[in-house]
Symmetry: C2
């Protein structure tokens, strides 16, 4: 081993994001991006941005955007933190709230970045196995310095009821980060917990409902001391000028976001029904993706066959996840092509 690189880093393999191939005619349903473009107000705001102003550093504390977020959620600007994508906020939490001998908890399965964040921080992973049907299951007396709770969960798409989450947060001795990346597609949110409980942060993102994965923006809401700790350790100018401008424009255009969400939910219902008619076991999604167990074909084979047909979905190997695929909700046209491809694969499969 090299003596120059930290031992724990040499043992690691980093996070591998879903494939970001950019081919013509590619149907990309593998990273839960929004199939619709961002609000037209984003383009207008960016066009109005003075190019010469790029020579200046951005506002280091994103004051304008944070004030608007605080107003929407009914909290002060000191209770809002803006990050370079949700991932930056998650990583900052591991450095703000976990001592070197602490542990980081999360459900298994959930966002596959969490164990890697524990490795990067060089502290113990303390996963909690979900139930057989991926339902909430928490051992009595479970503790950690930090718990990452994706709600609705990924890759399962399931929503844990707020009452369950509240009861957990109220007795958990460390910080709970409720990662609400997909909450805009769900029937309820846990945001009030971040405003009421001193150990809870809620994380939101502009990558999904706001259709701005390309700009990297997320935000965290919570008690002032926890938010203050994130400010203390963040990079000086973590969010650039474009991102602050684009996020603000998208955030203000609530009507557009609502409309986009409604379209995605309609397509989600349609795709869910269509897969069920093909005897897939589809979990009740509260997100912009479906978690489903194919019928008549192994999940991995389906993933590979679709990939050959220029359709990317997500497959997570492993004991808990290897029988399932995760499919992002695309446009209706994309979903039609997906279903046709699934039929073609299953036909061959049956014939072969």
């Amino acid at each position: 081993m090299s003596t120059l690189i930290r031992q724990s880093v040499q043992r690691m393999t980093g996070y591998v994001p879903g494939e970001q191939r950019e081919a013509a005619d590619l149907i990309k349903l593998n990273t839960n991006e929004n199939p619709y473009p961002p609000s037209p107000k984003v383009g207008a705001a960016l066009a109005a941005l003075d190019g010469a102003a790029l020579r200046r550093y951005p506002d280091p504390v994103c004051a304008t955007l944070r004030r608007r977020i605080g107003e929407r959620h009914g909290c002060g600007v000191e209770q809002v933190f803006v990050s370079n994508g949700g991932d930056e906020a998650l990583a900052l939490c591991t450095r703000a709230f976990v001592e070197n001998d602490g542990a980081i908890g999360y459900f298994d399965p959930s966002y596959s970045l969490y164990p890697i964040l524990a490795d990067i921080r060089g502290v113990e992973r303390r996963p909690v196995a979900l139930g057989e049907r991926f339902e909430w299951q928490m051992p009595a007396g479970y503790a950690a310095a930090l718990f990452f709770l994706t709600n609705p969960n990924a890759p399962t798409g399931l929503l844990y009821p707020r009452a369950t989450v509240r009861a957990f947060c109220e007795r958990f001795p460390g910080v709970v980060v409720i990662d609400e990346a997909y909450v805009d597609f769900a029937v309820e949110s846990c945001l009030e917990l971040a405003l009421q409980l001193r150990n809870v942060l809620v994380l939101r993102t502009f990558s999904k409902a706001y259709a701005l994965a390309g700009i990297r923006a997320g935000y965290v809401v919570g008690s002032e001391p926890l938010i203050g700790a994130l400010f203390t350790i963040k990079d000086s100018y973590n969010v650039n000028r474009f991102t602050q401008t684009a996020a603000l424009a998208a955030f203000e255009d609530e009507a557009y976001v609502r409309e986009t969400i409604a379209r995605i939910l309609a397509t989600r219902a349609r795709l869910s029904g269509a897969l069920e008619r093909r005897r897939f076991e589809v979990f009740p999604s509260q997100t912009n993706f479906l978690w489903a167990k194919p019928a008549g074909i192994a999940a991995k084979t389906l993933f590979e066959e679709l990939r050959k047909r220029n359709i990317l979905i997500r497959y997570f190997p492993g004991r808990r996840t290897g029988d399932f695929v995760r499919v992002s909700i695309g446009t209706d046209q994309e979903v039609d092509r997906l279903l046709a491809a699934v039929d073609s694969v299953l036909g061959r499969q049956t014939a072969g």
Copy 2:
């Protein structure tokens, strides 16, 4: 103390960037920004960017930009890392190359972020005092896991000769990060050391010569194992779509950058002479700022008086730095207004 927040974080105060006031008629010479706008090709590239594409995640590994950087510097794409501003790269180095019982070294004075990065990482600071005239001075046998070496140095503007830096790197047991944020304004670079020595990384930024502080982009060049370690621990999508596009456009327009640099160097010479005629002690700058000891007035007073006149320069309190001011090179017009204001302050001072 809270039991939720890491003890070392509770003891810290974060980095305080130079003031980012945005008032009309403000002369901002406090954060070493470029007084000229970025290349017009940046604006053109951004205008050509498809707004709808913002719904997609950016390229997680910045492949195109890294390839072009590698070509320019004569190294492979695996030897180049692109970061969300130089600061992100510095922070990543503290997590990639320093064990929990390791130490981080840097000169005192140099970039005031370094000790804070050591605090954030929760490891020992191991500063090395520069000589009386801020010249290179290194104790025999000095060691650390990581050494941050700003060259040319900030806030002093002095360049350490490459031969001196090479000799240090060749015998230093840890990783040396040569922070060349200001190298475009200097007569020589240490980039070849990053290509020849396995323990050396060179950091560059788009914030200064390329006039793109607002987009947050920096890059690191060095041996493949060190660069690979940064990739292992970085946030999944650390550099957004705009930033990759803008940085590439600016990087390709070498002629424009050269012209901008030439203008800044001419103004630097003029301001330096003008301050010397006012009996300021001006250090020979190899950067886009001057480090100077005012005559006939305390540095802090000059800073405050200029601030009242809507001119921001930088003042660093402390035993080593408290007698000096750091002045970014502005346009000729800004420098004229600065000099007039200095004369006005000195006049009152003399009268008062």
